[in-house]
Symmetry: C2
Subunit: 405 residues, 2 copies
């Protein structure tokens, strides 16, 4: 008997019919002799609808209140799913994040899970119940309700799976797995059967939206195998686990891209120790993820500092950075929202020369200009013009022979 | 500085505009120097909408799950109200029933409040917050979510007021107070400024829908003054308190009526000890309120047993009573759903003869046939044909000179 944690996203439970379909899938997993814990997102557009309601009564709703409001979305889908299972003759019980022991810090709207107390879930499983847990939410030590922010339900699922020592965490979504590139851009992209945690982390961080990097990180930390598959088909999906395979023939596993890029350049700052800290510390305090950071070579002790953030954060970033830049003597702040990232990713690239050159060559052949470059041990990212993304991804997919992955 | 508990019903918070209006009323109460705790119902039709969703996925949703689903309705309205107050510059915080310490038994869909632990509410008041509590809900000792059933939010408000030792509990609704009769039936009905708990209890139990009898009972138990008033006007409303006044000139205070009446007659049961118990014990176990019970004089040790219940309970009642009636030798069960109750109510009636006669005379003058009669110390109820209710209420209102109350 295996213990399986399944997660269903909002599009998988968007209406009553879809909820019933998901209930059938869960019932089947249970009938096959498994213990089943299910994490569920809010139905379809519920979260957006709740946010709309909030903005009808307040221009700037309190973050604590907004979290309580949004929490109801997952509570509703979890109870409906438990009811649908009940009508199939299955014993099922829904739990809120609090009841399921998802304990978080009190950073409303993007809380972090501190620990999971699986006692209640274990008891319900012992009673032969299927346990449906409302995703995306938790509770502070003061019993205040929190939400986990982007990728929250994925994170709930992997955290629960780890705390329950589950055999596998299955993330069901509207795509069939992890592809060598976005199939909408590259029709010949192929689905990967397996991918390592680190590779997936880079893929997810650099634009492949199938699973949130927070959830992959947690999976890696607890060595929890994660299956990503479609809730609308029975195809096998992609398994994210410790090692894809020791030696992969093609060492680039996938091409990621991300158009949610805003570039900020602080022009003419003095090249002193402490300048970068003065700029980036307040951003960290505001909980803003800064991506690529590049500092040009200094001329006469004056330099330019360039970095990228998500476009939705740009206004907030500018309100923080502009006064700081001025105070340290910067000349001006220039922004650019016409850019995108393309990345090649593969653990096999590590310690193997030539990948960067091959990437730059493929892009230059298409006449694509590279604005910034950033690398990790298993990833090379180029920032290019957004309107060339499709050409870039296709060219790279071809250059690294991924159509035969 | 007074501590005021206010309750707003679903029609008072039916949309964003109404929520903002309610927020203004609350803010005003706070500005006048009071501490304010607010209990709120679900917006407009939310509860019906949630029930509809439940029935889309299951014909018979589990009661536990239905309670969790319905619980979200009041959570949503409470957070939106806290947000609307925030946008007026007021410090406000919403609490779920669990957070507000509303501890109940585990009778899902009609849980009873066992105790209220006001600690969190007291702390939030000490922080100068307006506290918005989601009505109609509580939590068991096992942390399971319950709902309180009909009149739940009224009950939450009075229980909270009692536990906080509040100065007054104000129930805001869509009527302006307690009237001598339903103004839709009797245009000359007048609003009462004051009414005693017992009189209100009889009025509420016998058809005046302004406040649920459970809440009045709790108010009486803790001697908590309850104001019933309109959330759409500033008129003074009706205060429910210990003594209306020692001597009231007109000893009938009001005429109540209720058309939600189903009559069941078990024909031809043997007149033995234990027969009534055999019939009514299973109804009590099924949590069904039986109203009037009448047993006719026995002829040759055979009698008829007649009782009334709410019409919505009739199917359930028949499924329980028919087999029992058969097993004790009853001939048949006859039902009638064309009846209604009219009652005259007044503490002053106690120990004063002549009220019953005056009531029967007024009805007979209209040619209205009385089917059953039942009395309490401060109430006389006649069961009559439903289509004569309007005539009966008007005639009684006139006979007891209530237009000049």
């Amino acid at each position: 008997m295996a213990l399986i944690v399944q997660k269903y996203g909002g599009s998988s439970v968007a209406d009553a019919e879809k909820i019933k379909n998901v209930a059938c899938r869960i019932a089947k997993t249970k009938e096959e002799g498994n213990q089943v814990v299910v994490v569920v997102s809010a139905m379809g557009d519920t979260t957006d609808e709740l946010i709309r309601m909030a903005h009808q009564v307040s221009q700037q709703p309190q973050e604590r209140e907004l979290d309580v409001l949004l929490f109801t979305g997952e509570v509703i889908s979890s109870t409906l799913l438990a009811m649908a299972l009940g009508s199939l003759g299955c014993k099922a019980v829904s739990l809120t994040g609090a009841q399921a022991g998802i304990q978080t810090d009190s950073t409303y709207s993007r809380a972090r899970i501190l620990r999971v107390d699986p006692k209640r879930t274990v008891n319900e499983l012992a009673e032969d119940n299927i346990v449906i847990v409302a995703g995306f939410q938790g509770v502070t030590s003061n019993m205040d309700i929190t939400t986990l922010g982007r990728g929250g339900s994925d994170t709930t699922a992997v955290a629960l799976a780890a705390s329950l020592n589950a055999d596998v965490c299955q993330i069901y979504t509207d795509v069939e797995g992890v592809y060598t590139a976005d199939p909408r851009l590259v029709p010949e992209a192929s689905k990967l059967d397996k991918i390592g945690y680190e590779e997936m982390l880079e893929m997810a961080s650099y634009g492949a939206k199938v699973i949130h990097p927070r959830a992959v990180e947690l999976g890696q930390l607890y060595n929890m195998p994660i299956l990503v598959a479609s809730s609308f088909s029975d195809r096998p999906g992609t398994i994210i686990c410790k090692e894809a395979s020791m030696e992969v023939k093609n060492k680039v596993r996938g091409i990621a891209h991300d158009t949610d890029v805003a570039k900020i350049t602080v022009v003419g700052v003095p090249d002193h120790p402490g300048i970068a800290a003065a700029i980036f510390e307040p951003l960290a305090k505001a909980n803003i993820s800064v991506d690529t950071i590049v500092q040009n070579a200094s001329i006469e002790n004056i330099t330019d500092l360039t970095f990228t953030v998500a476009r939705s954060d740009l206004n907030k970033v500018m309100s923080i950075v502009e006064p700081v830049a001025k105070s340290v003597g910067g000349k001006q702040c220039v922004t650019d929202c016409t850019l995108a990232k393309v990345s090649i990713i593969g653990a096999g690239m590590q310690n193997t020369p030539g990948y960067a050159a091959r990437m730059f060559h493929a892009l230059s052949e298409q006449g694509i200009n590279i604005q910034l470059i950033t690398t990790s041990e298993i990833r090379i990212t180029c920032i290019i013009s957004e309107d060339r993304v499709k050409d870039a991804v296709r060219a790279l997919h071809k250059a690294f022979e991924l159509e035969i992955a």
